[in-house]
């Protein structure tokens, strides 16, 4: 068996919102074609850490980063990196669904159009494929011209997943993608994650322990800006090394 390729890597990452030290000396390697789950109490820095990998935190004033974030071994904060190129390669689904004020179709087509795709037939095909894989197609195929805001919260979330996938990134960052979904849509998303693993590297933040256990190969437990434990998901859920991990996943916190 050859070593798995490292897709994403954090090397001694510290991150600050003004004086607030939000991430403290994080080291992590994420293998290609694997699913990694981030768990931890609210405010521990999961979203902050996730956003580093497509430079979403750049948009926030007064932030400061030390250490390195690597994609395919290259520092994504290097001056030569184009943020647009990076985001094409690293898609993101946010904690709160954020559809654009456009039609359902145009939401999914958006990334392709911005990236200069002109072939309408191809766009149509990609939109359908993406909606299919996001388990939304059946519900929206007859109202593609309707505004995305007419969808329910859970449908909007799946729309955002479809939008992220339409441009075929190689990494998909998902921040609680299923928090507003019913069990059936959740199961579809989890199935999708399982499928996507063949082609993508997926990082998912979730507050649902069972979801982390079901979908991920490795799990990272964060607490107060630190990565407390990062290991095989089986190990974390059967026999974690750290007491704080155990207290958290068994619901004995605080």
């Amino acid at each position: 068996m050859d070593e798995k390729k490292i897709k994403l890597e954090a090397k001694n990452v510290n991150f600050y919102y003004d004086d607030f030290h939000a991430l403290k000396g994080i080291n992590m390697q994420i293998e290609q074609n694997s699913v990694v789950a981030f768990i931890g109490p609210s405010g521990c820095g999961k979203s902050t850490f996730l956003r580093l990998f497509n430079r979403m935190n750049d948009l926030i004033d007064g932030t400061h980063l030390t250490g390195e974030c690597l994609l395919d071994g290259r520092d994504i904060y290097d001056k030569r990196v184009h943020v647009d190129e990076l985001r094409k390669n690293v898609g993101m689904v946010f904690q709160k669904p954020n559809p654009f004020p456009k039609t359902i179709f145009e939401n999914v087509a958006y990334g392709l159009r911005v990236n200069g795709v002109k072939d309408e037939k191809y766009i149509k095909q990609r939109v359908e494929e993406s909606l299919q894989s996001a388990a939304l197609w059946e519900e929206v195929k007859d109202k593609l011209k309707k505004s995305a805001f007419e969808l329910s919260g859970g449908q909007q979330q799946r729309l955002c997943i479809a939008r992220a996938m339409a441009i075929s990134p190689s990494v998909l960052l998902m921040d609680e993608p299923a928090s507003a979904l019913d069990p059936i849509s959740t199961a579809k998303i989890e199935e999708l994650i399982h499928e996507l693993k063949k082609d993508y590297t997926i990082v998912i933040v979730t507050h649902n322990m069972q979801q982390a256990a079901r979908v991920s190969d490795k799990t990272g437990f964060f607490l107060l800006g630190e990565l407390i434990e990062y290991d095989q998901t089986k190990k974390i859920f059967l026999n974690p090394e750290k007491e704080s991990t155990q207290n958290y996943i068994t619901g004995r916190f605080g």
Partner: protein, 223 residues
Amino acid sequence: MNHLEKEMLALRNEVLDMWALVYSQLEKTKGALLKDNKDLAREVISRERRVNAYELKIDSDCENYIALYSPVAIDLRLVLSLLKINGTLERIGDFAEGISRFVIDTYEKKYDSLIREMRLEEMFDELLEMLEGSRKALESEETKMSGCLFAKDEYVDNLYDQSLQKISEYIKMHSEDALTCIFLAILSRKLERIGDHCNNIVEEIVFYIDAKVLKHAGKHKEV
């Protein structure tokens, strides 16, 4: 303590109660055989139903706990080991009942000296200590006595081998008692199996507390 922990504690206490019952079943079986006390044997047989009832109740409580609370980590290990210990205790109860039936149906005073030579009393005592020691290990969540309990199982295995030797000598001189002797050999075998079961219980406790899987690691006899 939150309600989840309370549920878990209740489940654990149920298993500990069953443990006490099975212990007393084995202790009474010992008395029934060694003192040829058929009343005691009858008591064991009638209380076997309670052991079975415990098993069913604990089984379903474990299932409910898993279904409702999706336990993980130490909680998952505990409920899994309780489930297995439950089944194992029930089997030990079966053996005790089987031996008690033998006392009622077949046993006669004239075999008292053979039983002494077979050292069955010593076997019983070792098994009772294993059962009690493993219960204490779970109660105190402490595995340091596991080595000493495993050693007892090996000692029981030796006693079993020796008991077969004694029986075969006896048969040579009393061939007319061969059938009862075979029953006695089976009885000794049952005790030896109880030792294996106690061993498994200790392994489950080590899995729960230390998260180490010891099963099939050594050369434990399994037939």
